[in-house]
Subunit: 327 residues, 2 copies
């Protein structure tokens, strides 16, 4: 997307409301502000201002590293605990409330018809579909959809855009354009599958991770090293399908399936059950404690984010050099 198109899209959505300012909401707030989108935070907590401002301060070096303007971020930030006043004049709402369906249904019902027809109603939910969330809406259900980020949204590019049964095509288009203008990688998930896509993939691989650790094949730390030094590195560069397309040689997936599909099908049919009973949990918890607990989570997170930023920067620089954009 070129800069002009990006500016035009953001001009249509100058005023965002972030509902619920936990880590996800605070991170969206930082990202919106860095792109010049004004943010009204709606969160009933008394100390919400300090929490969000503190989060933005901590996120600022990351935003800078991603090439975003990070000066005077809080100039366009305001707080409004009253929902009606908060959403008055809003162009876009990004909801990050509790995952209780009643909460979300009541929230959207009370916003229903109170925003402009162009406004986008987006939920960060990882668990509640737009279809369910919209059940008490009469007017604005066509503009409601899930925009589920990978954590933290101001750093990790993916947004899963998951329309509900009542979402209008124009709203999907607008949501994709808006997120893309923020430098995100929005991808449409065409069915409201439980867990959407990324979390389902995590779940699938984590099952095998637990199996191998519980069988004593490797420790949690060794398994992590195996992933970061092989498939993690590979999948940061190329996804599984592109990787296996190349794994098939000049014959691509035709050759790949000819060689590997019998083995894959056999393996998939014979997966041993994996239980996370108390004993299994203890094995993993103990190993994780031994491997990771020496450093406080804040330090591990900072180290992780530094690595993630380094990777994003390296790939962006390469894209610039080769002028062969992957996305």
């Amino acid at each position: 997307m070129n800069a002009q198109v990006e500016r035009d899209i953001l001009k249509r959505y100058p005023n965002a409301v972030v509902i619920g300012a936990g880590v996800i909401g605070a991170s969206w707030t930082a990202l919106f502000l860095a792109h010049g989108v004004a943010v009204t935070v709606n969160d009933p907590r008394e100390d919400v201002e300090g929490i969000v401002e503190d989060y933005i301060r901590k996120a600022t070096p990351t935003l800078k590293a991603l090439g975003l303007p990070a000066k005077d971020l809080t100039k366009r930030l305001r707080f409004e605990a009253d929902l009606g006043r908060a959403v008055d004049g809003a162009d876009l709402i990004q909801e990050n409330g509790p995952e209780r369906i009643e909460f979300k249904q009541d929230l959207w019902a009370s916003i229903d018809g109170k925003v402009g027809a162009h406004a986008l109603l987006l939920s960060s939910s990882s668990a509640r579909t737009a279809t369910e969330q919209s059940l008490k809406m009469a007017k604005s259900a066509g503009r409601l959809l899930v925009g589920h980020p990978f954590n933290p949204p101001h750093l990790i590019p993916l947004v899963e855009v998951v329309p509900g049964e009542r979402t209008e095509p124009g709203a999907i288009e607008d949501a994709v354009a808006f997120y893309a203008a923020l430098g995100k990688v929005p991808r449409i998930v065409r069915k409201e599958m439980q867990g959407f896509v990324a979390n389902r993939l995590q779940r699938a691989i984590f099952r095998e991770c637990c199996y191998l650790v519980l069988k004593g094949v490797v420790t949690v730390d060794e398994l992590d090293d195996i992933v970061t030094s092989s498939i993690g590195l590979r999948w940061a560069a190329d996804g599984p399908f592109r990787s296996f397309h190349l794994g098939g040689g000049p014959g691509g997936f035709t050759a790949f399936f000819k060689q590997f599909s019998p083995g894959l099908e056999t393996a998939w049919k014979n997966m041993a059950p994996v239980s996370l009973d108390a004993e299994a949990q203890k094995t993993i918890i103990d190993q994780a404690q031994a491997s990771f607990a020496a450093s406080p989570p804040e330090q591990l997170e900072a180290e992780r984010d530094a690595r993630q930023i380094a990777i994003i920067q390296a790939l962006a620089a390469l894209k610039g050099r080769t002028a062969k954009p992957k996305q």
Copy 2:
């Protein structure tokens, strides 16, 4: 590992024999040579010299990018089609022959007792365990083990070191030290599981990838984008266990399991079957063709490797800056 220790280890293994010079064998050859290890290639093909020299030429920019000396690489390279003459005086053998068990058993039987007691007998096999491979050996089985690389070995760090039932502890230690001295990330796989670790993880996630595409939730291209912009990026930085340890917040895996284990167990128990029948294969092949076939595989591979090199360099630079080595 410091440079002195590395040199000392490589001094014990100055002469390697690479048996079978397909892409894996040729890639090992390039890496060994770049670390000053002399290589004798044993491969019956008439045109093997041209193939290997061509591979080394193409791998040279990558070796340079990884900070390795890449001048006069072929000075210490020779070719010897006779197995007996090739292994005479060898300190280390890296086998990359066909995955037929008879081939490997006969090969090791004919080498058995013909190499020094210190020599390492390593198989790149992804499918045949050291225990099976050693069945016809009487003398040197204690020094035989699997050293399974992720492709291509001169670029991707992982080596799965998989000892067999007869492998001596000293051989495991020597293999790990040797691979580490080459800048690899060797990790010991403690049980001879079919597929070892990395391929089992690939299989597990690929099952869900196919499921989501066959259900029409996303296309192969969209799924790849979802992976590269979220979990791929994450797992190049941190493995799944470290990631979920942080996902649990200050409570680590105890908190993570408390929140997520019921959902995980339910999902794992209710995984729908995935079949790669002719129709399913056609769906994936057609989408992969549409997404990837416009560029020749060599170009896609070069682009992938450029991205992988950029990531490895960025993480290495970060490690140098922070002096907080992850491995």
